[in-house]
Every structure is written in C-alpha cells, then in structure tokens.
Symmetry: C2
Subunit: 350 residues, 2 copies
C-alpha cells in the first residue's frame, strides 16, 4: 500500500505500457481556477433529426442514403484520413526527410438508431450488438491490415462533431506509434517475466483493490497506477484474451454490463454526459496473425478530459507537451471517487 507521504507529495510513476513516467502532484488540486470554462455538453438532443447525416433514412455528404437501420450501422467515412489506394511517396534516402506510404480504410459505426442515447443509456443487449460488430470489424479488416483501431470520441470537448452515438474504426497498413510502443513493452515484459504484463497487472490490482473502479467475474476496470488523465481508466478481461474477436458470448455480455456500469459512474461524476476518447488495443492482425502474440492482452483505454467539474478540464499543455505529463490528483483518489458513485442513472429509462 502507498504511504500517506506518496499520496500527498509529488512523485513520479512509471507507465510500463509506454515506457515513460508521469508526474503526480496531488496538492495542485488546491489551486484556484480562473482559466477557461467549457460549454457544458448539449442536453436536449432530438431522438431523430432530419438534418443529421447519421440518423436512419437520412442522406450523407456523398449523397448516399442511410438504410432504416434499427441496431448498429457501419459505413465508410466520407472524409477518410486513410484510403486503400494512396500512392507511395517514394523512398527518400535522407534520414531527416523520411516518408512512407499510408494505406487503409476509415469506417464510422452508429451504435443505435436514436440520437438521444449513449452507451450507458442503451440496453445491455444493444451494447452486446455493438461489441459483436466491433469483433466482426476486427476480424474482417484484420485479415489484411496489421492494425484496426476502434475508437470513440464522445462529446464536443473531445472533437466529436455529431451527437449521434457512434465510434470510428480506422484500419492501416502500418502499426501506429502507440500500439507499436505497447507491443514492444509487452513483449519485453513477457520475455523477462514469462506472463503477459497486463494479466499480471490485473491480478495484482484485483488484490490491492485501491485503484479498482468496477469488477465482475470476467472483467476489471481500474484507474491505472500510471494514469495521466484525471479519471483515466483501463478496462480489461481477467482471462488471457488477445483480441476482441476472441471474446466468448458470455464475456461479451459481461463486457456490455461492465461498460454500462463504468460509463454510468462517469456520467454521475459531474452529472453530465461524460466526454472522453476511448479505444481498444489488442494483438496486431494481418501479417501478425501468423506470429506468436502471447505477450498481448486485450484492453480498452478511456481518456476523459474533465478535472474539476462538468466544465473545467485538465489542460495537457506546456509542461506536458514539452517535458512530461503531470496530474493533479492521485490515481487512488480518482478511483475512490468513481468507486463510490452510483451505477444507476437518473434520466432516460430505456
């Protein structure tokens, strides 16, 4: 257990997934805030908006019409950052001016036909449908592409420009920086300790309890020891699972249940539809399917920006961009706050 000394005074913590350090300065929460205040998230979103390109039956930017979908709905991003046929920029020999071809596909996935719901407000069976579709996309795009990034930007504060519940899936012909780093770290740990890093980590956290937010027989969500964002969480299965497509039916149901619990706590923290960016990391695919990926453990990262209230976020700016990430409350304080929040939400009952 951490001593009071550690909790109250600044110290560094090591992130073994990124081989880097975070500066924890708990007492910084005491400073007054006279800086930027965000607009609170929009509250009255219509269930159906004839002008919203994500709603069932509506027209999108490219002129195509959406079907009258009644569950999840996947389509190609109309302004993709990755395309399957991008030409090769040609190999410059200069080490200071190196470029490479980037090819891939960008998909958008609506979670539900209604615009006024979010994952925590959806029925468990509806969330299971989302998980099944995630697994299907990883399986399908993963036959070719080495990396399939599922991510959700929730809330205008996190760059989301459409309130309809949706996520994105970007598949690429390269292993992006973050998964490449995580792959390296997990591999080195496995070689040294003979067990997947995050599997050992989940066991230790389940025993220690102090950073656990929610748990079930199959799943665990913690504020990781090395969290940088104030209420960042790590969600992972307790069994050794490489990819989301490997989850059993029961594990998918368990995941839907724990996601609803975690996200409801988030909504209850500042009594607002909680903004975040989240995404899944699992063993790489495509050519990596033929390799041994035992060092990998499937997990999701939740990165929520809010720090003090529904309208005051943590700014990852000067020192954080130029030197090192710094946090203003301890991960244990954040976990305790989240743990103590109710798991049912006043509001829309579906």
């Amino acid at each position: 257990h951490l001593s009071c000394v550690t909790l109250e005074h600044q110290h560094l913590r090591y992130n073994p997934l990124r081989d880097s350090w975070v500066l924890v300065s708990a007492h910084r929460m005491k400073r007054p805030w006279a800086g930027q205040v965000e607009r609170p998230p929009e509250e009255h979103i219509p269930r159906y908006d004839p002008n919203n390109p994500l709603c069932p039956g509506n027209k999108r930017a490219n002129g195509e019409g959406n079907p009258d979908y009644d569950s999840t709905f996947v389509f190609e991003n109309d302004f993709p950052a990755l395309q399957p046929d991008a030409p090769d920029p040609g190999s410059e020999q200069d080490p200071l001016f190196q470029s490479k071809a980037a090819r891939g596909v960008c998909k958008v996935m609506c979670f539900h036909p209604w615009s006024d719901v979010t994952l925590p407000l959806m029925k468990k069976e509806e969330v299971v449908k989302v998980i099944d579709k995630w697994a299907e996309l990883v399986e399908e795009l993963g036959t070719i592409y080495p990396w399939v990034q599922i991510f959700e930007n929730k809330g205008a504060m996190m760059g989301c420009s459409n309130p309809h519940p949706h996520c994105q899936v970007w598949a690429s012909n390269f292993l992006p920086n973050e998964p490449a780093l995580s792959d390296r770290c997990q591999r080195a740990y496995y070689q040294k300790h003979g067990e997947p890093m995050l599997l050992q980590y989940a066991k230790r956290e389940a025993e220690k309890k102090e950073r656990v937010v929610v748990e079930s027989s199959d799943w665990l969500a913690v504020v990781p020891y090395w969290a940088t964002w104030p209420y960042q969480t790590l969600l992972l299965p307790r069994r050794h699972v490489l990819r989301i497509s490997d989850l059993t039916t029961e594990e998918r149901e368990g995941l839907a249940a724990i996601m609803k619990r975690l996200l409801t706590k988030y909504d209850n923290l500042f009594e607002v539809s909680f903004p975040y960016s989240m995404g899944w990391h699992g063993a790489p695919t495509g050519p990596y399917l033929k390799e041994d990926n035992s060092h990998w453990q499937l997990h999701a990262h939740y990165y929520p920006p809010l720090l003090r209230s529904a309208t005051v976020k943590k700014f990852m700016v000067g020192y954080e961009m130029l030197a090192q990430e710094q946090r203003d409350l301890t991960p244990e304080q954040a976990a305790e706050k989240l743990r103590n929040l109710p798991e049912d939400k006043k509001g829309i009952e579906l």
Copy 2:
C-alpha cells in the same frame, strides 16, 4: 522536392527527434466542420488590473506583494507541481508499480509590467530582456538540476489562466520523458552521422526553402517536415549552440527580432492573438554539464492548436491518442501560408 502525389495524398512522415511517425492526410481539410467552436481570445485586457496577481504592486495568493517591476519579474509559483523537499516514495520492487522521488522548483516569469501586451507587441529591447532572464534562470537552476523547462502557455485555449504576459520555468531532479527521448535520438544521430542532427536539418531546410517561415543570418524558423500541430514551428540558431545561456549578445538580439516576426505572422494568420504552447529544449544541465553534449542543438518548439480559424482548433483525440498523430494539411502548405503573411501588425504600436 516533394511530388504532387505526396502533397495531395495521405502518407507517413518520420520525426527523428521523437523516433515516431505522423499521418499526413491533406485532403481532410475539405471536410465540413460542425464540431466545437471556441470562444475567441479576450480582446480588451486592461493594462493594469488591481485584482490581477501578476501586475506590478499587487498581492499574490500567498499574501506576498509584487514589487513595482518595470521589466521582467520572476517569482515562485504559489501552487508548484515540483518542490525542492518532496520525500522519497521509497522503492517498490514490483516492475508494475514503480515510483521515484520528484524534486524541483517552479517559477513564474512576467514578461512586462503591462497586461495588454504580448511578445510580438513588445519592443525588441524588451524581448531581449526576456531572453536574458531565460538564460540567467537556465544558468542558475542548471547548476543543480538536470533539466530546466522554460515554457509559455499562451491563451485560455492552452490552459493559461492569466492574460498577463508570462511564462513558467520548472526545474527538476530528473530528465523528463520528452527531453530524454530527444537526447537519445540526437545522440544516436550524432554517433552515426558525426554532426548534430538539428544543425544538419537547419542547413537542409535553409536550402530547400519550402518549409521556411522566417530566417535571418543567425536564426531559422520552419514548419518541421514532421510537424503534428497544423501550424507548429521549430525555431533554432544556425550556429551550433547547446543552451540558451550560450547565446551571444548579437544572437539574443537576433532571436528577439525573429521571435517578433514569427509571432506577428501567427497573430496575423487568423487575425487574433494566437494561442500556443511553446518551450525551449537545450542540452541537459546539472550533472550533465560535465558530459559531452555535442549531439545537442538548442531549439524552441511552438505548438499552436488552431486549425481552421480563430475559433476552430485541431482536436488531438481518439485516433491521435490511441494510435498516431494525424494532420489535416501538409507542413509545406502551412509554411507557405505563414511565409506569405505580413510581419507588421495593425494594433497597439509601442
């Protein structure tokens, strides 16, 4: 020169200072923006505000009074993220729960007695005073501390909570992640190529011209080949200089002049006092003063968030946080735009 193919289509570029890649998808600027719109920066800031703790003669949070300063003014941050006497958290042996002592000092430095000026609006001689003070602080704090991070968060959008022109200086007993990575990359390059990476880079960019924003006999500012933020720039001397304290009187005057030119262009880009986070990276200090740091070259990074207008920024969210940074216009397009802007500013003439 880059072919049109590269400019128009997505590709990856390598950042040799961080050993990582950035995804460049120029065509993404074409997508419409229905997302968050920021409040434009405050326009009518009073020259003196009796309630602003940074103004001359005023009281600060800890009850201390500021002197009636008429140039720069340095004081200890009243809510420091680093303190000289933080206790050691004790060494946990577990590789998954590693912590370390973090000690240091946090200083705030006002640039000018007036609240209604910014660096580009100050007289050149006044900017030289700021540079002299930066050099003095690096020299002074660098006798003990291995890293002295000078950084400025400008604008509420970048987490700045006080409009009075100021920066911060955080010195630490550890080499933070970013400089540690940059040190590693520059060292490896030097060992392989026999010349400092950024010195070679500056020469090549000065020849190529396409990414140059402003230059003078001693200094160069470019949108780096690997820029992640839309209008990110790299400012560096053309001579081999390890630390800001090593700059000659002439080089400091040259720096003041080029900073004014660069920052005025920034202000003119969207006709608004341009928000950014910036900071200086130079060879490490303290115990490193005794070592050979020839691989280092002093430089400043400017990271401005705005993408489309004075109120629409680039969101570094889902894909960027979970996978890899992505930009929506090429560095060459950004450099050309900045290069073509005037270097004199309508507005307050001092």
